[in-house]
Symmetry: C2
Subunit: 250 residues, 2 copies
DNA sequence: CGTTAATTTGAGACCATTCAATTTCGGTGG
DNA sequence: CCACCGAAATTGAATGGTCTCAAATTAACG
């Protein structure tokens, strides 16, 4: 029997308030097609209209904009079971790009079907709303990160966030994580140059906070890295098990 | 007869898809109390639980976080008829502060009542959803702004955004806008120091792009300022009259 | 095993910061 | 209305974190 690939999302959302068995079943009934994308492939293109919503099933993706002088700023990193473009549900024109960081598998859901379900089912709707708010919260923290922290803190913070989120969805054990970002991409995510990123990473390695090689990140000293990165996971709104949100009864 | 202060919001939202007469009437029926807040007063405090949603009726507010070393990063500026904490509708603990930039008047709406209405009325719900997405879009642009642009471009961009948004809600005529940010606050919004912000502003003045004095900003050369700020309003998802969003029909 | 991408190293330049002092502005009380 | 005060804006000079440019080394991949 074939597995419904939306199952992973249904399981993750099952902890959200109001997301009951029925919501899960409805979600699984969504029309969708699973597709592979190669590394560097675009999932969303700035300026384009979008008619589909893309759920990341396998692999990493990143969100970015390119500015006039050719510089690129990465705005967020996305990991499996995350929608990379929930905002396309309503906004007409994409205001940024989303690109695969690794080879990916995604489930593509027609926008209209997803919106219709959200309209009909409060559990699904609430889950989508929460996801949007969490995305926004991460954007806010990134503004702070690139705006006010020095290079060492900035990079340590980004590593903390990624490690924490990967841990949270069960990817990564014993402090070891897939880390497919090149140093150039890490630089674009932190607003630094590749050269300085390289030197800063070396400092973090010398301090025995991390190991980072061959697309794999090992957090050697979690407390030390938290400290170095000025990391407080409040903004992720998770207590380690569940999302910490208002109950619907309110 | 007393005016319902939610009217301004109803009028602004009336252009959103699905926000019909009924939605407007429902919105006006929301329980709420109007209150003045003095300059610098906190509307939201990081770490606090929130049970109310705050709509800005008069005055400006700003969103910010304080980092370990005492530095502050301003994450967004808010102007009248904007909810400053729509995210508190669902997230339990505030992950940042919101503070009045000027003396303000706000309408405070109980969280539960707002959520209940959103649940019941698709027009209101869609409007809230759109507002959340627009907020997120602005956060993304700010990541880019502080992450990858030099000081001149950064400041020019922020001025463009504010002028554009003020123009859009009918505040500001002939390129003249209330601009209550001190140079220190402007520095915290752009990730620069006050001293460098001062020098950069002087450069923009010398280039005859703006006049900025006595809490008032005059845009002398709109095209020049756009150019200097690498400003493209796509991310604001407005065509000048309406929000550019997907129609609900799909 | 060759070829390209990614990482690393070095040195010099520059943008923005820091620190400190001065001037201007806005508000308040005499 | 003017004197006074604190906050905000401005200026100067020196420092420093990060960038730029360029080259060398290592890793990834067909």
């Amino acid at each position: 029997m074939e597995v419904n690939r939306l199952d992973a999302l249904a399981r993750r959302w099952s902890k959200y308030p109001g997301f009951d068995y029925d919501a899960g079943q409805e979600l699984l009934r969504l029309p969708h097609s699973c597709r592979p994308f190669s590394k560097d492939a675009y999932l969303v293109r700035e300026g384009h209209k979008t008619v589909e919503c893309t759920l990341l099933l396998k692999g990493y993706a990143f969100r970015h904009k390119v500015i006039r002088n050719g510089g690129r700023q990465i705005i967020s990193i996305h990991i499996p079971t995350e929608f990379v473009d929930l905002q396309n549900g309503l906004l007409e024109i994409a205001d940024h790009n989303v690109q695969c960081l690794t080879p990916c598998e995604v489930a593509v859901v027609p926008r209209a079907a997803l919106m219709e379900l959200a309209d009909r089912n409060v559990g699904v709707r609430t889950a989508m709303w929460i996801e949007t708010l969490l995305d926004a919260s991460i954007f806010r923290e990134w503004v702070v990160n690139v705006g006010r922290r020095d290079s060492r803190t900035r990079i340590a913070h980004l590593l903390c966030e990624l490690a924490w989120r990967l841990e949270n969805i069960g990817l990564g054990e014993a402090g070891i994580f897939d880390f497919p970002l090149t140093q150039e991409q890490l630089a674009d995510a932190t607003g630094l140059t590749p050269v300085h990123t390289n030197r800063t990473l070396q400092a973090l390695r010398r301090a025995r906070l991390i190991r980072l090689d061959a697309r794999s990140l090992t957090v050697l000293d979690w407390d030390g890295l938290r400290e170095a990165g000025d990391f407080d996971e409040l903004y992720l709104h998770h207590n380690g098990r569940d999302v910490t949100v208002q109950s619907l009864a309110g």
